[in-house]
């Protein structure tokens, strides 16, 4: 401090906020400073610059849009100059100040420019009268480039804007001379002010400060307190200290909390204030202040060590991490845009020629039915089987079930019979038929007819036969009787006599297992389903099937001889199964089948032989006797003779006259040999 100062002055010079004093004693806020609005031409200037920053940057120089915006900007500059050599735009805490007026930083016309200049710590933008549009473009590009670089800053450095055109210049805050009322050193009481560069940060006592500047003020206050003491011994200690922390060296001269405060504030300033040059400048001022103690090296050392300690324990992340630019690798396209467009147009055309996709669910349903049936080919687990059953139940019960869906099932069944996948067939049938029977029973018969028609060999038919019969037994309904007859005829084409293998397979299917016998089976002439009845007579279902079949045969009167035989049976007797079979074989044919001849002869003979007296008057008996005569051999003669000659009490004929006469006639015509002459017998 200068010796010329009086003691009072010296005291005053050393005065200042005590270390740790309540800084609220110092005036915190300035008298309110009115911010007059911008003049119209200055507002136009800011608007024009804003447009240059946006619209003007969308287009390259020379583009019509660019030229239009740039011209407007040039006009605005001219309008703002008012004959002066340059127009100045000042960056203040409120916003942008031009010609005495202020546009707040949130103002649309000022915001973008403010956000460009303020982080760069630029206090003034000057546009000279001889500026060209290219100069403006270049200047704004340089500023934007520097703004972008700021994003990549990892350390603190003074920002220097280089590359600006000569007609547009910026001034950093550290160099800027504040001339506004309310700023400047003469209004403060600090004796240090004369050592401060007046073109520096605003005195916080005079104007409202944001948080960063508040901290700067506190920092200065701490430093001022430090100035009160210090000597050469401390300097020596610091020089020899090495990495020993400052606090350990300075001891009571600089209290621990002071050291901590300085470190904390340095840390906080680094975290919150992105303005590296401001901090650098601040520290420089603090050093200057401490140099008043006469120990510049001490000051240097203190701050150097404090900085090192701060960085070593630095916890904060870099505030602005450089964001990686997207790496663009050029893609090699095999088609030009036009070629690709042409191919796409072809796709559109092809799509438009297709039938509109009206029903999406139906094709998906057919698809899914096929999937379910296909999955069955690979021995599914119980859980999977249950799932397939459920899915098929839902799909096949659908009210929208259509011919395409059914055809999928038909094709799948044909597949399994063609390739002898009987186990799969069993599973498939058990999952397909029940839902159809429940919800679409009239479709079940045609389904099986289509399956049958898709098969091509006796082997394949035999594989399918038990399943079809099983379905018959479970119940089939038909809308078209011709289809019914077609299937029944088809079934009858399979020779099933003595086919215990077919019987065994039938026994393992649900109808016989669960003793289900649909009455519909007997709604057609029994001979039409001869093979079915034949096997059923041998099956575990015979007790249920037999009587119903007897009734049917009795009712249908397909052949007189059959009728006579049935009359003779009176009621179903399993022992007569050969006769039933013979009747079935005979069917409606006029020519007596060989089986029928044998069986009828035997049964007629036995029946007549055992016929009780009370039945001998029944109408059929006479006819039976006649048939026996036609069919019989020498072995039947005794029966016929007996009819003729049997007498009760040796006096009264056992048989009615009609019977005796028929027997006499029959005896005359009966074959004398034991072997039946295999003539064609007709009615």
């Amino acid at each position: 401090m200068s010796e010329s100062l009086s003691k009072t002055d010296q005291e005053e010079a050393h005065a200042g906020p005590e270390l740790g004093s309540d800084l609220t004693d110092a005036p915190q806020e300035s008298p309110a400073v009115d911010s007059p609005p911008l003049a119209a031409e200055h507002e136009q200037l800011l608007i024009a610059l804003d447009r240059m920053l946006t619209t003007g940057s969308y287009y390259p120089p020379g583009h019509a849009q660019y030229v239009a915006v740039a011209d407007q900007c040039a006009d605005a500059v001219a309008g703002a100059l008012h004959g002066l050599a340059c127009v100045e735009i000042e960056v203040t805490t409120e916003g942008l100040a031009v010609g005495g007026g202020v546009a707040e930083k949130s103002n649309r016309c000022a915001q973008r420019l403010y956000e460009l200049l303020e982080p760069l710590n630029q206090a003034l933008l000057e546009i000279h009268a001889d500026v060209t549009t290219e100069d403006l473009h270049e200047a704004l590009s340089v500023l934007k480039h520097n703004h972008k670089q700021l994003a990549g800053t990892r350390d603190y450095q003074e920002i220097e804007i280089e590359g600006m055109p000569q007609t547009v210049s910026v001034t950093g805050r550290s160099l800027y001379v504040r001339t506004k009322t309310g700023n400047g050193p003469e209004q403060t009481s600090s004796p240090l002010n004369e050592y401060f560069d007046p073109n520096t940060i605003p005195d916080a006592a005079l104007v409202p400060t944001p948080e960063g500047q508040m901290m700067e003020r506190e920092f200065l206050a701490v430093i001022q307190g430090l100035m009160k003491a210090g000597n050469a011994a401390h300097l020596d200690a610091l020089r020899d200290a090495g990495d020993t922390p400052v606090a350990e060296i300075l001891g009571t001269w600089v209290p621990d909390f002071a050291i901590k405060s300085i470190k904390d504030m340095l840390n906080a300033l680094e975290e919150t204030n992105s303005d590296a040059s401001m901090l650098h400048h601040l520290v420089g001022h603090a050093q200057t202040a401490l140099q008043l103690t006469g120990d510049p090296l001490l000051v240097e050392l203190i701050f150097e060590k404090l900085r090192k300690e701060n960085k070593a324990s630095k916890k904060s992340q870099p505030l602005l991490e450089k964001r990686p630019k997207p790496v663009r690798k050029a893609t090699t396209f095999t088609l030009s845009r036009a070629e690709l467009r042409s191919l796409i147009d072809d796709v559109y055309t092809e799509a438009d020629t297709l039938e509109p996709l009206e029903d999406i669910v139906a094709p998906a349903r057919a698809d899914a039915i096929g999937i379910c049936l296909q999955v069955l080919n690979v021995a599914p687990s119980d859980e999977l089987s249950a799932g397939i059953t459920t899915s098929l139940e839902v799909m096949l019960s659908s009210e929208h079930l259509n011919e395409v869906d059914l055809q999928v099932a038909v094709d799948a069944l044909i597949d399994v019979f063609k390739y002898d996948k009987l186990e799969t067939a069993e599973a498939m049938v058990s999952m397909v038929c029940p839902p159809l029977r429940h919800a679409h029973r009239a479709k079940l018969g045609p389904l099986w007819l289509n399956v049958w028609n898709g098969l091509a060999s006796a082997q394949q038919y035999e594989r399918a036969w038990p399943f079809v019969v099983n379905e018959l037994l479970m119940g089939m309904w038909w809308e078209d009787p011709r289809e019914k007859i077609a299937l029944y005829n088809a079934l009858s084409s399979v020779h099933v006599a003595d086919r215990t293998d077919l019987l065994i397979r039938l026994e393992n299917l649900p109808a016989l297992k669960e003793k289900i016998l649909a009455k519909e089976l007997f709604h057609v002439p029994a001979p039409l389903l001869y093979g079915v009845h034949q096997l059923l007579m041998m099956s575990s279902l015979t007790d249920l099937h037999g009587p119903l079949m007897h009734q049917r045969l009795e009712y249908q009167k397909a052949h007189p001889l059959a009728t006579i035989l049935m009359n003779g049976f009176a009621e179903y007797n399993h022992a007569h199964r050969q006769a039933y079979q013979a009747i079935l074989i005979q069917g409606v044919s006029e020519k007596i089948a060989p089986e029928m001849q044998d069986v009828a002869t035997r049964h007629l003979k036995g029946t007549l032989n055992r016929l009780p007296a009370e039945r001998r008057e029944e109408p059929w008996v006479t006819e039976a006797i006649r048939w026996l005569g036609k069919l019989g051999t020498a072995k039947t003669r005794p029966v016929l003779k007996k009819i003729v000659s049997d007498k009760k009490f040796l006096l009264f004929p056992e048989w009615p006259a009609a019977c005796r006469n028929a027997a006499s006639d029959a005896l005359a015509g009966v074959n004398t040999s034991d072997e039946r002459d295999r003539h064609d017998f007709h009615r």
């Binding site: 690798k329 690709l340 796409i344 999937i371 859980e383």
Partner: protein, 477 residues
């Protein structure tokens, strides 16, 4: 570096999911913990960062003021863990061992109720030997000390968090996509454990996806970057579902059908859960045997769906037939009588497009224009109506894509245009790359501009694949 951070977060979430299904020493759990430590350690030892830290707030991951879209989608389990702990984020530092990470997964899996407060959470961590994993305090509104969050904190964070165009438009959809990702992840895990999959949940999520898709097409999942194939497999199904819903709407299908298609997309690759990891996640080309195994996944998927009681023809059809070509080639090999449905054809198109344009481990995303070149040139592969719908729905540059314009400005596609190569865009950066503030980003309809056009799809490391690699990508999709 950013990608590494995202990867690490996704790995943490995956680890919790795996630990829920398995035990500490299960190979999958150990593998993820090893990968986490293996990625983190070099990063922190390099000195660029001395800790790995990220914030959790409002169902989002936030790092250095940025909302992390990808990890937020894939990391619901980790977000829920943080919510239950009452913390605002995690800080990991070295030394950190694999066992520490496994312990973290275990805690994440086991913590099912909210803890009393952050102190209790820190105590829990300390007692579990994880005291060195720091739990950050929750976000609070400025000046609202200790409030622990609430509306003020939410708005403060929202204002503070940087949202680029994508993130701002996506934020309302986040919970939907989180749920979608979680549903697929859970079902895949259930499959590994031979447990039941949750079809109702998938259906509900599919319906939600359709509902938000009504607000406009936005291919958000194209920005997902996956640290591992597990995550990719999950994200792939989510994106196929989203694309499927878009196409179904483009085709004019009913809401009910759109829901079915979205569900079908979520479940179409379920069968991959039954394919051995060594084959599924093999980075290079598959040999013939491996390919045969891989090609069973459609059948396996359909079987799984059936065994779990799925009855929807559309879902079944898509799972089975999404690798069947229109010309009958492809797999699984089908009998002559089999017909492929249009639902399967639609999922097929979405599946291939997604596979080509996704960013997977060992494969960078392909420019959509290049993907279209490949698809339209493959005659007989795709149902024409479905391929047409894809182009019509998305255009050459799907909504959400970042593109470079002919005047060197960068823009984001906001909607398809009248012409596929001329979408509607919002300019986000000027010609020098200077980001424009959100309120000042101009919208341009390139269909109405004769001078301006898209010259390039912008993505980090867009890849060029050779023909053989392309075929492999399509077949292994």
């Amino acid at each position: 570096m950013e990608q590494q951070f995202s990867d690490l977060i996704i790995l943490l979430a995956s680890g919790i999911n795996q630990r829920r299904m398995y035990f500490d020493n299960h190979p999958k759990v150990r593998s993820i913990s090893a990968e986490f430590v293996g990625t983190l350690k070099p990063m922190l030892e390099s000195g660029v960062q001395n800790e790995f830290t990220f914030g959790v707030h409002g169902s989002k991951f936030i790092r250095e003021g940025k909302f992390l879209v990808g990890p937020s989608i894939a990391g619901r389990s980790l977000i829920e863990f943080a919510d239950r702990l009452g913390c605002g984020g995690f800080v990991f530092r070295l030394p950190l061992t694999r066992n520490d990470v496994i312990n973290f997964f275990s805690l994440g899996a086991a913590t099912k109720e909210e803890l009393e407060d952050l102190t209790a959470a820190r105590k829990l961590f300390a007692e579990s030997g994880l005291g060195h994993i720091e739990l950050a305090s929750p976000f609070t509104a400025e000046g609202d000390e200790g409030s622990g969050g609430g509306d003020g904190a939410d708005s403060a964070v929202q204002e503070g968090v940087e949202m680029d165009f994508m993130a701002a438009d996506f934020a309302p959809l986040l919970q939907v996509y989180q749920a979608l990702y979680e549903t697929v992840a859970t079902n895949n895990l259930a499959l590994n454990g031979d447990n039941r999959i949750d079809l109702d949940e998938a259906r509900a999520r599919g319906a939600e996806l359709v509902a938000v898709s009504d607000q406009g097409a936005l291919d958000v999942m194209q920005f997902m970057r996956y640290p591992d194939f597990d995550s990719y497999t999950i994200g792939h199904s989510v994106r196929v579902a989203a694309l499927g819903a878009l196409l179904a709407r483009e085709l004019g299908w009913s809401h009910e059908l759109q829901n079915e298609i979205a569900t079908a997309g979520l479940l179409h690759d379920l069968g991959k859960g039954k394919v051995p990891d060594e084959i599924l996640f093999k980075p290079g080309r598959l040999n013939d045997d491996e390919r045969s195994v891989m090609e069973t996944h459609p059948v396996l998927g359909a079987r799984v769906l059936l065994a779990n009681g799925e009855t929807s023809p559309i879902v079944l059809s898509a799972a089975w037939g999404h690798h069947l070509r229109e010309d009958g080639r492809g797999y699984p090999v089908m009998p002559e009588w089999f017909t492929r449905s249009s639902a399967a054809a639609l999922i097929h198109v979405c599946d291939v497009f997604e596979a080509l344009t996704a960013a997977r481990p060992y494969k960078r995303p392909m420019d959509p224009r290049r993907a279209y070149e490949i698809m339209v040139a493959d005659k007989g592969a795709f149902h024409p109506a479905m391929l047409a719908a894809l182009v019509r729905a998305l255009g050459l540059y799907p909504p959400g894509s970042e593109v470079l314009l002919s005047d060197q400005r960068r823009a984001v596609v906001v909607a398809k245009g009248e012409l596929p190569e001329r979408p509607q865009v919002r300019v986000t950066h000027d010609a020098e790359g200077f980001p424009l503030s959100r309120s000042e980003q101009p919208a341009i309809n390139l269909s109405g501009s004769s001078d301006l056009e898209v010259i390039e799809f912008v993505s980090v490391g867009v890849e060029q694949l050779g023909e053989a690699e392309t075929e492999g990508v399509i077949q292994n999709a």
